[in-house]
């Protein structure tokens, strides 16, 4: 893509009422003030006729991209277009886990960068996102799996990322509910990334939206993009239900529906849409203070601060845009839960939901320029979108502002498929439902 000329004068930054700094003293003062001093966290902007950058999709990655464009790269003339309200898409539909325990060096560096950004995020945004580094524990159940996990842990440690082997006894201490001696899948041990954990996902969307709005970004809710305008091979703007909006750069950050938006620009992506379900049980007293993954299936569980156990599994396994999920995977997740933690058998599932995800052909995301000048894609997140929000936003902002890939995301370009540089973390081949 072509770099945006730096000499062009920018329109004046939008000035709007600030929501003010959040602090203990502010809380105390508002307590004496009958809470009348609070204002909206972000402004409900109406779209102008043109922007330097239009970001389609007001989820985690879209908002983070806008925030970093304004605060790191000095581009304030930005609009985020969201078809519904902020926070109701995939950013509010995941199991809130953050970690960087990957195997491929490029992926480790990228997700570790994200984890480091999570660590300073709340102070930077002045917003409580409840970042909780409670640890991520991956259990293994066979000797072959132990060797595989050891290899991954060594790879991580070579790159300076924390990860430690833990014994069966330590697993029992960390997860008192675990059934170590399950007849079919006994737990032999695990690997713990102590800096992994969970983040309150809604607060991530709200925090970035507030930060971006204060930095001059227009956040336009209920604005659905129905077309992408082109002049030859250059993108010139988007058609929406609130009129035509011109833009020098259009960024698609609509994981789950990337194929559909890209089709508006005449592009076909290496992506299939699949549904991933998540479940929350009724709230109980604290029983689990780490994130645990089950190695003999695809299952992960953590306990939320409200007490509910948040669990998830694999994708349902066939192309779908239905945000609901079907029962066979529900049964599999429940079976995994009670195999690993039999004490959960009497719990009731309070809520179940599905999120539609971009499953890419190699299981790694796409942050890339496209054959069309001025069109940038952030998508293909598979299972990893939530934890990648800070790094995805920063590297996408870099790509838009500088016109070239961020060094930590250069391997996530679209051209890798034709060039034979796929980043297939799982070694599953071009079968999205297997990643």
């Amino acid at each position: 893509m072509n770099a945006v000329p730096q000499s062009k004068p920018q329109p004046p930054r939008t000035t709007r009422a600030s929501s003010g700094r959040y602090s203990f003293w502010r809380l105390l003062r508002e307590g004496f003030n009958r809470q009348r001093g609070w204002s909206q966290a972000w402004a409900k902007a109406a779209p102008r006729s043109g922007y330097r950058v239009v970001i389609v999709g007001g989820g985690g990655h879209g908002l983070a991209t806008a925030y970093y464009l304004a605060t790191e790269y000095g581009i304030h003339d930005v609009a985020v277009l969201e078809k519904g309200p902020i926070g109701l898409g995939n950013v509010g539909r995941n199991t809130t886990i953050i970690r960087s325990n990957y195997f491929l060096p490029d992926n480790i560096r990228f997700y570790e960068y994200s984890l480091k950004l999570w660590e300073g995020l709340e102070r930077r945004l002045n917003f409580n996102a409840m970042v909780s580094q409670r640890g991520t524990l991956n259990l293994f159940h066979t000797e072959a799996q132990r060797d595989l996990f050891t290899r991954r842990a060594n790879q991580m440690r070579l790159l300076g990322v924390d990860n430690e082997a833990v014994s069966r006894e330590r697993v029992r201490e960390l997860v008192p509910l675990v059934d170590l001696d399950n007849g079919r899948y006994p737990v032999l041990g695990g690997f713990l990334q102590p800096r992994g954990g969970t983040v309150r996902h809604d607060a991530v969307a709200w925090g970035y939206a507030r930060g971006a709005s204060e930095a001059g970004v227009d956040i336009v809710e209920h604005c659905e993009v129905s077309g992408i305008r082109r002049d030859g091979t250059r993108v010139t703007g988007v058609e929406t239900n609130r009129g035509l909006i011109a833009a020098e750069t259009v960024c698609l950050a609509v994981a789950g529906h990337s194929s559909q938006l890209a089709a508006l620009a005449g592009l076909t992506l290496p992506i299939e849409s699949h549904v991933l379900q998540a479940f929350v049980t009724e709230g109980i007293k604290p029983v689990l203070d780490v994130v645990v993954t089950y190695g003999a299936g695809h299952f992960y569980v953590s306990q939320s601060d409200k007490g509910g156990l948040v669990c998830g599994g694999a994708v349902d396994g066939y192309n779908t845009y239905g945000q609901r999920g079907t029962l066979p995977m529900t049964e599999e997740v429940a079976a995994s839960a009670v195999t690993l933690l039999p004490g959960l058998a009497r719990l009731k599932v309070l809520r179940q939901w599905g999120g539609v995800m971009d499953m890419s052909m190699d299981g790694s995301p796409i942050i890339s320029a496209t054959p069309l000048a001025g069109l940038v894609i952030n998508g293909g997140w598979c299972y990893g979108g939530f934890k990648a929000i800070p790094a995805g936003g920063m590297t996408t902002a870099h790509l838009i502002a500088r016109g070239r890939a961020h060094p930590l995301a250069a391997h996530l370009d679209l051209a890798r498929f034709a060039d034979g540089r796929t980043r297939d973390e799982r070694g599953a081949g071009p079968f999205p439902y297997l990643h």
Partner: protein, 94 residues
């Protein structure tokens, strides 16, 4: 739960089948070039609507079936043998 009407075994649960992806991708001729093969291996139209796809009846007759299914409602319109042309062109709704 999808209920897939297998032409050989009758209506069966989805758990008897293994999904094998988009059935509209045809292998290009040998000399078609890198672009055509990249598209064949990696690029998918991924429609929201009618989708022609492969399902392997693993726990039944073990035959490969071609199925026309809607990717939003999950309704199954047609099931046939691999060589049968589906009655719906691409993802066009009837």
């Amino acid at each position: 739960m999808l209920r897939i009407p297998c032409p050989y075994c009758g209506v069966r649960d989805e758990t008897e089948f293994r999904y094998r992806g988009d059935a509209t991708e045809a292998r290009p001729p040998g000399g078609a070039g890198l672009g055509a093969f990249t598209a064949y291996v990696y690029e998918r139209r991924n429609p929201r609507g009618w989708h022609v796809e492969w399902w392997l009846h693993v726990a039944g007759c073990r035959r490969l079936l071609k199925v026309v299914r809607h990717t939003d409602s999950h309704e199954i319109r047609w099931v046939g043998a691999p060589q049968d042309p589906p009655p719906l062109p691409g993802d066009a709704a009837p």
